[in-house]
Symmetry: C2
């Protein structure tokens, strides 16, 4: 039985090594090449592992990006599906609820890590913008048939980035400990207007 | 004439030294003691200069704080006067216009410096919150007779901090180069609701 435990622990450790190597290589390659320029093959080769390991551990290039750069353990395509699942005139509320729930789950740690990497590496901000606009936001605006989609996307970003900064980085009270549903009620209407309302 | 130039240059340099010494001492003392706990006398003594130099160079303790910690060359009391000067139902618009105009004037450099000091020093965030809530915001909420003033203040902070992050730190386009008045039209109504509207 000791031997079996040993074996399983060994296999798990090797798997974790592969995963870590892929995450480190992905951060480098996404920053060097951008999201569209980076390929799964390039990242796997940099990590010294088989390209099939990317699908095995992260589901897709988007999933690897989410964990390596966004520090969020959710595939962006899955995230979009979750946000679009419900009435269009409540999507702003769902965005606030979904992001706060994901970020609160790690006590804000993931958000803080994301902000650190964005503020210290120019490249990360560029890649983040690319995926945020081209992967996550374009699907939402196409689905909802919105005009001025890039401006709407970036105005939405101001509200969500600031919400994370005040709640998890500077910890301004009472907002830092206000319940998620109260914040959804206050900030949801803002996001809804930025997405589907008149902009000015 | 050479001598005169020399003398003026000498005086100016000494004045700049005093100013720099006060700024450096102020950053330390505000972080150690908080805004209310720090005194002009303490800061001048740490800088090795006369306390009268604080009024000479910065107008007040608030003015010194604004330059040392907020990196904004405006006395917070003067800022509040400027924001309150106009109809109450347009103050949200004036806040967006005033901050964007101040920050744009240095190409966002002041905002980036502020965010760097806030994210690298716990103490700066605490002092910032104290002055933001107790000095700037309390005067506005008292003047406007608002309820839930601390929650309103911190919700307003989410929108303004995020606006600065997206425009000056991560440079998401098109928002980073959208004209100030367009942003005032889009984000002004949000700030107005957070200040004087129903919160949920």
């Amino acid at each position: 039985m000791d031997q079996g435990t040993q074996k399983r622990r060994g296999r798990r450790a090797a798997g974790e090594d592969t995963k870590s190597a892929l995450l480190a290589a992905a951060r480098e390659v996404f920053v060097e090449r951008g999201f569209d320029g980076a390929t799964v093959r390039m990242i796997a080769s940099r990590a010294g592992v088989d390209a099939a390991m990317v699908n095995h551990w992260f589901g897709s290039k988007e999933g690897l990006f989410a964990q390596a750069v966004l520090q969020v353990p959710i595939d962006p395509n899955e995230l979009v599906r979750r946000l679009l699942d419900g009435p269009a005139d409540e999507i702003g509320y769902r965005i606030v609820r979904t992001f706060l729930t994901i970020w609160d789950a790690t006590g804000g740690g993931q958000f803080v890590a994301l902000i650190r990497s964005v503020t210290s590496h120019e490249g990360v901000a560029k890649v983040l913008r690319e995926v945020f606009l081209n992967t996550i936001f374009k699907q939402i605006t196409t689905e909802l048939g919105l005009d001025q989609s890039e401006l709407r996307a970036t105005v939405c970003a101001t509200q969500m980035v600031g919400l994370g900064m005040v709640r998890y980085v500077v910890h301004f009270e009472p907002l830092a400990s206000t319940p998620v549903e109260t914040l959804v009620g206050m900030i949801g209407p803002t996001m809804q207007r930025y997405l589907t309302g008149p902009l000015a």
